[in-house]
Symmetry: C2
Subunit: 354 residues, 2 copies
């Protein structure tokens, strides 16, 4: 089996954690008998942008070709390129142009990662956040009337489509159906946001009817964020619109202390386009260049990518190796009160793989 991977390390610590992600990926390939064909791209603020004034060439799709997946580090260098330029010019562009309509993130309490919530142990919290990743609140439709006057009015549209809502709900219900508890929680705000959110609720009911073996409930987003803190053990699969999913998939990892190690998948489930896997953390200019960044988010993303590519065994093995290394104080990086550098930690995980 051969998998072709487009590798985009990006900026800052993205460049430091990517080699560790690739190290573990290659090790897994050797152990589990598949091949990785890789092509690296310098689409980043401090590389391509610095030379050409844009994040990617105009023919970026040709450049990238038809890989089986994209392995992404982190993009962004606010001192030289404003965030909305670097993000709409790369990450958000991939999500839309490759129709990666599912953003998937685990919320899991891991050994060795201090939890900010009182009295919670590894095993207590283990759920997925499924986020709609292409439409909804993230639109660029709207504008300003009477600009620069006291009468200034600014309007922005939230746009939901039946196609867009139903497909991400089906993905979430499918995922819940495969899990033990078979429970889906929908994030809404239909008591305040009176048009799109009641529509979202209505589609949850319609799609839910196709899954009689999956139970579902809904919470308004305000009280749902409160429940993430108060009762995180209550959740199994949580599905939300682009904005609500964005919030919940940062808050969830924060509640388990894993913002620095969590992975994410930007998935095109049909496989018409490549899916993209990236750590949740950003390029972290404040610690870049010191070799101290935690590579676990990149490595956990490699596991999600392998799972997506059908290499479930290799993915599970990587996760076992990650948990083993996280449980070993000396192998952890500084953010987890260890002393290991980025490379030490990556090597430890590769070795733990077998």
């Amino acid at each position: 089996r051969k998998h072709t991977i487009a590798v985009i390390p990006g900026d800052g610590i993205g460049k430091e954690v990517m080699p560790e992600g690739m190290r573990v990926l290659e090790r897994a390939a050797a152990l589990f008998g598949f091949e990785i064909e890789q092509k690296w791209h310098d689409f980043a603020c401090c590389d391509y942008y610095a030379r050409h004034g844009r994040m990617m060439p105009e023919n970026w799709k040709e450049e990238i070709g038809r890989p089986d997946a994209i392995f992404f580090g982190a993009v962004g260098w606010p001192d030289t390129v404003p965030d909305h330029v670097s993000l709409w010019g790369s990450l958000l562009q991939f999500r839309r142009e490759y129709d990666q309509y599912v953003n998937l993130r685990p919320v899991r309490l891991m050994p060795g990662v201090p939890c900010p919530l009182a009295g919670r142990e590894p095993g207590d919290i283990d759920f997925w956040v499924v986020r709609e990743n292409t439409e909804g609140e993230y639109s660029s439709v709207g504008g300003i009337m009477f600009p620069n006057t006291e009468r200034e009015v600014v309007i922005q549209e939230t746009v939901m489509t039946r196609i867009g809502v139903d497909r991400v709900l089906r993905y979430a219900f499918d995922l819940a159906q495969k899990r033990e508890r078979k429970h889906l929680t929908s994030a809404t705000k239909s008591n305040g946001i009176a048009i799109t959110m009641p529509y979202w609720d209505q589609r949850v009911e319609a799609i839910g009817a196709e899954y009689p073996d999956v139970t579902h409930d809904k919470y308004h987003i305000d009280i749902l964020t409160a429940q993430f803190v108060l009762n995180p053990d209550r959740f199994d699969v949580v599905v939300g619109s682009n904005l609500f999913g964005d919030i919940l998939s940062d808050l969830g990892p924060a509640c388990t202390g894993t913002i620095g190690v969590a992975p994410s998948g930007n998935i095109n489930p049909e496989g018409t386009h490549p899916s993209l896997f990236e750590p949740v953390h950003g390029s972290a200019p404040d610690i870049a260049g010191q070799g101290i960044a935690n590579p676990v988010g990149q490595i956990w993303s490699a596991a999600m990518m392998l799972e997506h590519l059908g290499e479930a065994e290799a993915a599970a093995a990587i996760m076992r190796a990650v948990e083993q290394v996280l449980a070993t104080p000396s192998a952890r990086t500084r953010d987890l009160k260890g002393a290991a550098g980025t490379e030490d930690c990556g090597k430890a995980i590769a070795e733990a793989l077998g």
Copy 2:
């Protein structure tokens, strides 16, 4: 000094906690030498709505008259009236028609209230959330095209106005200026929501320039919710749009364990219209009628109302009495692991007042 108060206990536990709020208010009046003139209204699902099929009479403004403030319990009884009907028919209507454009909520770690975050002590967390309360994401402008077909498109507008944004920002900067740390944090999402949110950021800069002695920063809403869990001691005044403020002002009290005891003010700062004070909790049908509801949210709301009415001394005395009773296990209600009923707890606070 005389203050006229419109009293709307509402539904469920609203009816049980309101008498305790009034008990403490009257006690404070006797002790601090002012008069309370009260007029009660039965605008609730299980009262007025049950008889007339609407939450309030058409001439509700005349009925209410020109009170100095509205003291509100909790409205909602989903078994008989859908939430969006009861809320848009009362609470949300007051906010708009009385131009209560500031929603103000304290986030404070209190003695006797178990905190879900590890290692935090009373005194560690003490900040305000200021929420825009009339416009933004809570609009009813928009609609559905191609309904009930595969092509269904649902659009909802977020509307921000210069007037609406600037006045709530000024309120928040004013509040920060009066505090020791003089720091304001703005909730944004300008990296993803590309029209209204960059506008919000721009107005924060413009208004911030009028307050050279107040420092300010901004966080995207996703990472800001994470920061509420990870570094809640970092905040002083946090300002957000209607939706972001709604989320943060539930999440903040959840992080301090105070969702059941937190108060809120819906404020018309100019005093052109009455302001409304209510506990953060709802009508809680699950525990209604048992006399076990915690009255502290209603009583703390009374303190906020008195502060607003210029009775700062009485307000401070109520807060001291609340803290004293919360620190006394036997005087606490069941939700805080005590055995006191609603009335016992209210009486204890009234007595502690002096």
